[in-house]
C-alpha cells in the first residue's frame, strides 16, 4: 500500500545516505580531532611511536571527512 504511494527506493536512499553521512562522516571528524590532539600531546612527551600512530589516525579521519563532503557535492551536482 505505502509502496504504491511513496517512492520507497528514494526514501530508503535518503535514509541510508543520511545515516552514513550524518554519523560516519561526523565520526571521521571526531577521529581527526582525537588524532591531532593526542599526537600533539604525545609529541610533547617525546613518545614518537604513539604520536605517529595518532597523527596517522588524525590525517586519515580528516581525509575521509573532506573526501566524503567533496564526493557528496559531486554526486549532488552530477545529475
Amino acid at each position: 500500500m505505502i509502496g504504491a504511494i511513496v517512492d520507497t527506493h528514494a526514501l530508503l536512499q535518503v535514509i541510508w545516505v543520511s545515516i552514513l553521512a550524518g554519523v560516519a562522516v561526523t565520526a571521521a571528524y571526531g577521529l581527526a580531532i582525537l588524532g591531532a590532539t593526542r599526537a600533539v600531546e604525545f609529541g610533547r612527551d617525546r613518545r614518537v611511536g604513539e604520536a605517529t600512530v595518532y597523527a596517522v589516525i588524525g590525517i586519515v579521519g580528516l581525509v575521509v571527512f573532506l573526501a566524503a563532503i567533496v564526493f557528496g557535492i559531486v554526486i549532488l551536482t552530477g545529475d
Binding site: 504511494i5 517512492d7 536512499q13 535518503v14 543520511s18 571526531g30 590532539t37
Partner: protein, 372 residues
C-alpha cells in the same frame, strides 16, 4: 496584456515569499554556529547567505517535484490566479504563525497554499493527493525530522565516545573549526531545498502563462538566479535581526553538539533534495538540534518548543490550503484579469505591515535546546 501583469505580480510575490523564507530561516541556519562561537555573527550570516545562494544552483529535483508532481495547472488565466492564490495563502499563514510565534514550515505552507488554491480553481483531479502530497510531501515530512533527530543523537553519542575523555580546550577548538564546514553545508542544504520550491512555483506560473511548455518542462536560468538571490538576501536581512537579539535569546550548546546537529541536518536535507523531496528545512534542523540535545541530557531540550513544532507541523498544510483557497475565491470576485491580484497584493502588504509593526516589539528567536 492582463496575463502578463499577473505573471509579473506572481513572480514578484514568489520572490517576496522566497525572501521571507530566507529571513525566517536564518535563525535555523546560523544560530548553532553563532551560539557555539564557531564564527562571529556578522561573518556567520554573510557566509550563510553566500552558501544559500550557491546551494540554489546545486539541483533542480525539488523544483521539478513542486512544479509537476503536486498539482497540475492549466495554461490559462485561471491557472495563473490559482498559483497566485497559493502563494498568498502561504505568505498569510507564515505571517500568522510568525505573529503568534509558532515555528511553522514555509515549505509546507507553500505546498498547502498551492493545493488549496488549485483544488478550488481547477478541481480535485488537478491535485495529486496520493503520489504527490502523501508520497512526496507528507511521508518525507514525517521521516526527515525523525531521521535528523536520530542521526543527531547517534552522532553526538559517537563523538562523545571518541573525544569524551580528552581535555575540552583543544576538542572545542576542533569542533568549532568543523562547524565552519558543517554550518556551511547546512546553509548550502537550506539554499538548495528551499530556493527550489520558489523556482517550482514560478515555473508553474510560467506554465500557466504558456511561457514554459508543460510537455517540455524546464526551469529557466533567470528563475534559478532570481530565486537564489532572493533567498540569500532574505538570509542576510534576517541575520541582522538575530545579531541584535542573540545575546539574550540564543541558548548555548557545546561545539560538538552543534557540529553533530549541523551534520545531521545537512545530511538529511541534501539527500532528500537529491531525490526531489521538498522538505521542511525548519523541522529537519530542529529535529537534529533536539536529537543532539536529548542524547546528552533529556532535560536540556525545551520540550515546549518541540511540542509547538509538532502542532505547527499538523496545522500548516490544511490551514495554508484553506487560506490559499479563500484567496483564490476572493481574487476571482474581480474576474480573471489583473485587478484581483493587485487588490489582494495591496491587502496582504498592508496586513504584513500591521503585523510586523505589532510583532517587532516582541521579536525573538526560539531555539529547541536549553543552555548546556
Amino acid at each position: 496584456m492582463g496575463s502578463e501583469i499577473i505573471v509579473v505580480i506572481v513572480v514578484a510575490t514568489a520572490l517576496i515569499f522566497d525572501f521571507t523564507n530566507g529571513f525566517h530561516d536564518t535563525a535555523n541556519v546560523v544560530a548553532t554556529t553563532i551560539s557555539t562561537r564557531a564564527l562571529p555573527p556578522r561573518i556567520a550570516v554573510g557566509y550563510a547567505s553566500i552558501l544559500n545562494f550557491v546551494g540554489a544552483f546545486i539541483s533542480l529535483e525539488v523544483a521539478a517535484t513542486v512544479a509537476k508532481d503536486v498539482v497540475e495547472i492549466q495554461p490559462n488565466s485561471i491557472g495563473l490566479l490559482a498559483v497566485f492564490g497559493g502563494l498568498v495563502g502561504a505568505i498569510a499563514w507564515n505571517l500568522i504563525t510568525w505573529f503568534f510565534g509558532l515555528p511553522s514550515s514555509s515549505s509546507h505552507a507553500l505546498i498547502g497554499g498551492m493545493v488549496g488554491s488549485v483544488f478550488v480553481a481547477e478541481g480535485a483531479d488537478s491535485v495529486f493527493f496520493q503520489e504527490g502530497i502523501l508520497g512526496k510531501v507528507m511521508i518525507p515530512a514525517l521521516v526527515a525530522p525523525t531521521l535528523a533527530f536520530l542521526i543527531g543523537g547517534i552522532a553526538i553519542l559517537v563523538l562523545y565516545k571518541i573525544v569524551g575523555r580528552m581535555r575540552p580546550g583543544p576538542v572545542t577548538g576542533g569542533f568549532r573549526l568543523g562547524q565552519v564546514i558543517s554550518g556551511g553545508l547546512l546553509a548550502l542544504a537550506h539554499g538548495t531545498n528551499d530556493a527550489q520550491k520558489t523556482m517550482g512555483v514560478i515555473t508553474l506560473a510560467l506554465v500557466a502563462n504558456g511561457t514554459v511548455s508543460a510537455d517540455n518542462f524546464h526551469v529557466p536560468t533567470w528563475v534559478v538566479v532570481s530565486a537564489a538571490t532572493a533567498i540569500a538576501m532574505g538570509t542576510y536581512a534576517g541575520g541582522w535581526r538575530i545579531i541584535k537579539t542573540m545575546g539574550s535569546r540564543i541558548h548555548k550548546m557545546d561545539a560538538a553538539q552543534g557540529f553533530a546537529a549541523q551534520g545531521a541536518g545537512s545530511a538529511v536535507i541534501l539527500a532528500a533534495s537529491h531525490v526531489g523531496f521538498p522538505l521542511s528545512t525548519t523541522h529537519t534542523i530542529s529535529g537534529a538540534v533536539i536529537g543532539s540535545g536529548a542524547a546528552k541530557r533529556l532535560s536540556a531540550v525545551r520540550w515546549g518548543v518541540a511540542g509547538n513544532i509538532v502542532v505547527a507541523w499538523i496545522l500548516t498544510l490544511p490551514m495554508a490550503a484553506v487560506i490559499g483557497a479563500l484567496t483564490y475565491l476572493v481574487t476571482r470576485l474581480f474576474g480573471t484579469g489583473a485587478v484581483g491580484p493587485i487588490i489582494v497584493s495591496t491587502l496582504i502588504l498592508a496586513g504584513s505591515a500591521v503585523l510586523y509593526t505589532r510583532r517587532s516589539q516582541h521579536a525573538g528567536v526560539p531555539t529547541a535546546v536549553e543552555s548546556s
